[in-house]
C-alpha cells in the first residue's frame, strides 16, 4: 500500500471592513441603517457599562467583574444575527451579547453585586445564566440545539467561549457531539488572545482555533472579530447552516483590551506595543467611521448617545443597588429544589429563627 493523502482541509477567513476603513463592498451584509445604528449603540452601551463596572469594583461596590472591552463587535454583531427564538449560551464576559439580547443593564450589575436575581430568567427568556466553569456551557448549547433538531423546529443555540476554553475536554466533546447529533448549534469562540495570562500561542499548537472544528467533522471559519460587518455575516451564515443541522464553529479574532477580571493585572503578562497595536483596531471606532462615512451617524447622534448612556448606566447602578439593599437572605432556600425537602425546610426554619425573622410559610 502506498502512502496517500486521504483528506485535505482548509480554513477560510473573513474580513469585510478593514482597520484602515477599506470596505469590500461585495461582502457587505444587507443590514438596514437602523440595525447598523443599533449595533453601534449596543457596542457603546457595553463599553460604557464595562468601564463603569471596573470603577465600581475598585470602589468596592461590585464583586469580581470580567470586562469585555475590545470584544464588542464579536459579541454584539454575532448576537444581532440571531432570530428571536434563538438561544444565547454565554460564558462570563458576555455583557455585550446579553445587552444585545435585551438583558437589562441593572440585571448584569446585580449579578456582579452577588445577587442571583441578576441571572433570573423570565418565562420567554432564551438566555442561560452566565457559565463560570470554562467551556462547560458549550455542551448545554449542544443539548438545546439537539432538542430543536429532534423536534424539527427552527431555533439555534449560540454558545460563547474564549480561546482558553478550546483546550477543555467539554468544548471538544461539544464540537464532536454537536456534529454527531446534528445539533442546531453555533459555537462562537472569541479568541481574545489570552486565557487570563496564558497567550494563545501557549494554548494550542494548532494554527487556527477554527480548525478544531475539522476534527469533529463540522464547519469552522475564522473571522476578523473586530469587524462588526464580518462577524455579523459569518454568524448569519453559520446560523443558516445550523438551522439545517450543520453546527459551525466561528473563531472571532479579537483582543481583550482590559483585564481578565478585576482581580488581575494585564501589565504583568502583556506587552505595551501589542496593546497599542490592538487599540488601533478598536471595533467601535471602526464601525463608527464606517457609519459616519455613509452618513448613518452624525456628531449630534454620537453626542446624544453619550448623554443617554450616562443616564442609563447611572439608573442601572441605582436600581441594582436597590436590589442589593432589599436582599432577603432566606431566599437562598427557595430555588434549590422544585419542592423543598423536609430536612431543608427544617434548616430554613432554624435559619429564619436565627435571623429573628418570620418562619417562611407561617
Amino acid at each position: 500500500m502506498p502512502r496517500t493523502t486521504v483528506a485535505e482541509f482548509t480554513v477560510e477567513s473573513l474580513g469585510i471592513l478593514a482597520p484602515d476603513g477599506e470596505v469590500d463592498e461585495e461582502l457587505v451584509p444587507d443590514l438596514s441603517e437602523e440595525t447598523l445604528r443599533g449595533m453601534y449603540r449596543t457596542m457603546r452601551r457595553a463599553r460604557r457599562l464595562d468601564e463603569r463596572a471596573i470603577a465600581l469594583q475598585r470602589r468596592g461596590e461590585l464583586g469580581t467583574y470580567a470586562p469585555g472591552i475590545g470584544q464588542e463587535a464579536a459579541q454584539v454583531a454575532s448576537a444581532t444575527a440571531l432570530a428571536d427564538g434563538d438561544w444565547v449560551v454565554p460564558a462570563f464576559r458576555e455583557q455585550a451579547a446579553l445587552l444585545t439580547r435585551g438583558t437589562p443593564m441593572h440585571a448584569i450589575l446585580a449579578y456582579a453585586m452577588g445577587l442571583e436575581e441578576g441571572a433570573a430568567v423570565g418565562p420567554d427568556d432564551r438566555t442561560l445564566p452566565p457559565s463560570i466553569p470554562v467551556g462547560s456551557q458549550a455542551l448545554h448549547a449542544v443539548g438545546i440545539g439537539w432538542a430543536y433538531a429532534m423536534r424539527n423546529e427552527d431555533p439555534v443555540a449560540l454558545a460563547y467561549f474564549g480561546d482558553g476554553a478550546t483546550s477543555t475536554g467539554d468544548v471538544m466533546e461539544a464540537f464532536n457531539s454537536a456534529g454527531a447529533y446534528g445539533a442546531q448549534t453555533v459555537f462562537l469562540c472569541q479568541n481574545n488572545q489570552y486565557a487570563i495570562s496564558t497567550p494563545r500561542s501557549k494554548q494550542s499548537r494548532a494554527e487556527t482555533l477554527a480548525q478544531k472544528a475539522i476534527g469533529a467533522g463540522i464547519r469552522g471559519i475564522q473571522v476578523d472579530g473586530n469587524d462588526a460587518l464580518a462577524v455579523y455575516e459569518a454568524t448569519r451564515e453559520a446560523l443558516d447552516h445550523a438551522r439545517d443541522g450543520d453546527p459551525v464553529l466561528v473563531e472571532a479574532l479579537t483582543y481583550r483590551r482590559s483585564m481578565h477580571t478585576t482581580s488581575d493585572d494585564p501589565r504583568k503578562y502583556r506587552q505595551e506595543d501589542e496593546e497599542v497595536d490592538w487599540d488601533r483596531r478598536d471595533p467601535i471606532l471602526r464601525l463608527e467611521s464606517y457609519l459616519r462615512e455613509r452618513g448613518i451617524l452624525t456628531d449630534d447622534d454620537v453626542a446624544a448617545l453619550e448623554a443617554e448612556l450616562e443616564t442609563e448606566v447611572a439608573d442601572a447602578i441605582e436600581r441594582a443597588k436597590g436590589m442589593a439593599a432589599d436582599v432577603d437572605p432566606a431566599d437562598m432556600f427557595e430555588h434549590a429544589y422544585g419542592e423543598m425537602p423536609p430536612w431543608l425546610e427544617r434548616q430554613l426554619t432554624a435559619f429564619s429563627g436565627a435571623q429573628g425573622g418570620a418562619v417562611d410559610g407561617e
Binding site: 445564566p129 455542551l139 438545546i144 457531539s177 422544585g338 425537602p341 430536612w343
Partner: protein, 322 residues
C-alpha cells in the same frame, strides 16, 4: 395485573411507559439504542421510539452537559451512564450546572434530568466498575439520589424520578439486576421520593440498608436471635429522617449498612442525624457496617471488601450486646 419482573426488566418497563406517556422524554447514553444497553435495560426501546432513543457519543461530561441543554429546551432527558464510576467524568457538569440551574436562574430554567447508572460491586467486573458513591452525590445541593433494591421499587421510583422536576441520580444495584423476580404493578405506578419503608418490623434493633446491601442485610438478620427492624430509605437525598428516627426511638439501637467506604459515607450522616433526633433513646452506640476506606479492590478481593452477612450479623450483635 402484575408481571413477574427482574430489576432490569422493571427499568425497561418504566422507561417504555414514560416514553409512551410523555413526548418530551428522550433516552440517551452509550450503547442504549441498538444494543439495548450493556445490561439490556433499554432493550427494544430504540425500535419503539426511534426518534427519542439515542446511542450517544462516548463521553460522560458530554452526556450530562448535553442533557442539561435538552432540559433547558423543554425535553425530559433520561441519560444512562454505563457504570457509576464513569459518572465521575460528568461530575463537574452535575455539580456546577445540573444541580444549580434552577437556583441560578431563580427557577426560570429547571433540569428535570434523570441519570440512570448501575452501581456497586459483586459482579466481578473490571477495575472502576464497582464503586458506590451515593454519599458524594447526596453532598451536592440541588441533586436527588435514589437507590432502589427491588423490581417494584425500581419501577415506582424510576417513574417518579423521571417525573421529578429536579435532577435525579438513579443508582441501580448492578448485582441485583437479575437476582430476583417479583410481581410489578403494570401501568402508571410511582413511589414517592424521600420516603423510607420499614421492610421488616421489629422491636430490638434497627438496621438501615439500601440497594444491594438490603438483600445482604435481610439474609443476615434472618439468623439473628432478636427482633430486628429493617428500614430501607430508598432515597438517599432527600433522606427520610423521620422514619429512621421513629424506628430507632422504638428499638433504641441502630446499625447502618452500606458498601461504600466508611469515612464520610452515608452512615455518618444517618448516625449524626440520629444523635440530633433520637440521642436520648439510644441504648448502645450506633454501629456502621461498611466497605473499607480503600480503593475498591479488583474482583479477587471484592468479597473481602463488601459487607458480608457475617459482618452485618456481627454488627447487629454488637449493637445488641450493651
Amino acid at each position: 395485573m402484575a408481571n413477574e419482573l427482574r430489576i432490569v426488566e422493571a427499568v425497561q418497563q418504566a422507561l417504555d411507559e414514560e416514553l409512551a406517556r410523555d413526548d418530551s422524554v428522550v433516552l440517551f447514553g452509550e450503547d442504549v439504542g441498538v444494543t439495548g444497553g450493556v445490561f439490556r435495560a433499554t432493550d427494544g426501546l430504540v425500535d419503539a421510539y426511534p426518534e427519542r432513543v439515542y446511542d450517544s457519543t462516548l463521553g460522560e461530561s458530554g452526556i450530562v452537559g448535553v442533557g442539561i441543554g435538552l432540559a433547558a429546551a423543554g425535553m425530559t432527558p433520561v441519560a444512562e451512564i454505563q457504570f457509576q464510576s464513569f459518572l465521575y467524568q460528568g461530575f463537574a457538569q452535575l455539580v456546577q450546572h445540573a444541580a444549580r440551574l434552577r437556583s441560578r436562574s431563580r427557577g426560570g430554567f429547571t433540569c428535570p434530568m434523570t441519570i440512570r447508572t448501575p452501581y456497586g460491586g459483586g459482579i466481578r467486573a473490571l477495575e472502576h466498575h464497582s464503586e458506590s458513591f451515593e454519599a458524594g452525590f447526596a453532598h451536592v445541593p440541588g441533586l436527588k439520589v435514589v437507590v432502589p433494591s427491588s423490581p417494584t421499587e425500581t419501577k415506582g421510583l424510576l417513574t417518579a424520578s423521571i417525573r421529578d422536576p429536579d435532577p435525579v441520580v438513579f443508582m441501580e444495584p448492578t448485582r441485583l439486576y437479575r437476582a430476583m423476580r417479583e410481581p410489578v404493578p403494570e401501568g402508571d405506578y410511582t413511589l414517592p421520593l424521600g420516603e423510607a419503608t420499614v421492610v421488616e418490623a421489629g422491636e430490638d434493633v434497627t438496621v438501615v440498608a439500601w440497594g444491594s446491601m438490603l438483600r445482604t442485610t435481610l439474609s443476615a438478620v434472618d439468623g439473628v436471635d432478636a427482633d430486628v427492624e429493617v428500614v430501607n430509605p430508598r432515597t438517599i437525598y432527600p433522606l427520610d429522617t423521620e422514619t429512621i428516627t421513629e424506628s430507632v426511638k422504638k428499638t433504641g439501637r441502630c446499625v447502618v449498612v452500606h458498601e461504600a467506604p466508611m469515612t464520610a459515607g452515608l452512615g455518618a450522616e444517618i448516625v449524626s442525624r440520629l444523635t440530633e433526633t433520637a440521642f436520648y433513646h439510644l441504648e448502645s452506640p450506633p454501629e456502621r457496617v461498611t466497605g473499607y476506606d480503600v480503593p475498591f479492590p479488583m474482583f479477587a478481593r471484592e468479597e473481602a471488601y463488601l459487607p458480608s452477612e457475617e459482618r452485618v450479623r456481627a454488627g447487629v450483635e454488637r449493637a445488641l450486646s450493651e
